[in-house]
Symmetry: D2
Subunit: 163 residues, 4 copies
């Protein structure tokens, strides 16, 4: 069983630019993270875009959906910025593909030693193997169905939708 | 849903002793790793022992089994040295408790920046939530049933039992 | 011999804010870095300000100078943003205090595992012990007199003044 | 001014062997550390040996001395295990070469994220530039003349010779 990993950017992959002193995107850190985790699951990694998720547009989400649909693999992990992760999850969830799709990300860039990204990547790859077809968010040890999750921006955590 | 985490030692938790220049056990790193991963799943952590798994005896495995049996939680993660992880898994598997028990560990001490431990911990906590009752090994992104796994010592990886 | 360390901010001490996704200042990392380096030189650390050096004003530089003047110690290390480090060095250099003052900083925040900050801190504390009275910049293994150094912003490195 | 760096092994350069679970020597980490520290001083690195300093013999010390003598550079840094660093310093010191030679090492392997090695390397390269001809030990921010230093093995620190 091969897992497809689609990279879309987000905090997960932000790097520090020494010249400008700002955070920006260079290459994805996912291959390095898989090496560090000594990942033994066969994966295919493809970068679809490198965006802060606040800048992601409808067309970007359609592109992600199209790639999920056409992928040969039935199990997919998507790295994504946390700010609009639930929006992309909704687009994918409403498409109801016969695949297990898990979105994940990080609260802290992986390039910072203190990132939660490696923990989340291990978690997302595991939920992607164990769960039935559907669209999920895996963050910080928890897993949410796409239609039962919101981001609490004040606390920086994901929670089930209330009421 | 609270997950019980039992610590038993292993490479996962080895520290470097500056005075002797050797690897040894001090306190477990698991709470720090959960903090780093910003883990939002309720967990209860208990250290049962701090052993290199080559030094683990039958009585130690019985102690681990007894703790799994008496734990209030139905989902349990056990950190364990890799050398005899399959032996402990067998003891737990044959007991056929109505619980989901996932053993995990690391090929490199967490205290080394290059450890696979954080990735594995995220993975084990996820499989523990998603899988039905049974005993499993979660290492480097893969998950094995207790009765279908061996450690390939030459390569330092876990594999399905052949034939 | 005690070395006085004055903290003024700069890239050195920037942290990642998980809620806003931006770099900002919280507490200084210098005490943690001294612990990590197992520093055995007696030091006294005092935070004067926490500024991006582009925002540093004349009054801030006068405050740094006043603190260098009134300090009981004759050997002083100052952590400082790189963008205007040479400006502060000039204010201190022209005051011609009978003290050894070494400014240092980092191209990458210490909170990023890949920072040059720890290397630079070890270097600055060493030059502060070994050099005669004067004002110096210590960055990336090199040491410059305050009146013979410029920052090459395109490359992000310090160089001797030409011609 | 180019600084010559001789590698001899020691805790500084120990790696973790995933198969055996022991600390051992592979390649030196010094070039990676110089990259991390964004070192701008021209250096020439040469590995003379890869030894735990407890296993270093008279012939090894003579080899180090011969290399210091024949090096084109007048400023030399030597990475060395801490257990017999003072013995090698004595051999070099008694030879009274007209060069500045600084021995350094680490209490914790660099491969452990928590190493003091990067701090010490920055320090040693700085003392090597600033001090007159002589043989010195630079450890944890302090610098000792070769004939006025002992290792306190109980505490794992270097101290001036008493009385």
């Amino acid at each position: 069983m091969t897992i497809r990993i689609f990279i879309t950017g987000g905090t997960f992959d932000k790097s520090y630019d020494e010249i400008t002193g700002r955070l920006s995107f260079k290459d994805t850190h996912v291959p390095e993270m898989l090496r560090l985790g000594r990942c033994r699951i066969p994966v295919e990694v493809r970068t679809l875009m490198m965006l802060d998720s606040l800048e992601m547009k409808d067309a970007d989400r359609e592109l992600i959906l199209a790639n999920c649909r056409s992928a040969a693999e039935e199990r997919i992990v998507i790295t994504h910025g946390t700010d609009t992760m639930t929006d992309t999850a909704r687009v994918l969830g409403e498409a109801a593909l016969p695949k297990t799709i898990v979105l994940t990300g990080a609260m802290v860039p992986y390039a910072f030693g203190s990132s939660d990204g490696l923990f989340n990547l291990g978690s997302a790859l595991s939920f992607a193997q164990a769960l039935p077809a559907g669209v999920y968010l895996a963050m910080n040890g928890r897993c949410f169905a796409w239609d039962d999750v919101v981001k609490n921006r004040a606390l920086g955590v994901f929670e089930p939708r209330r009421g």
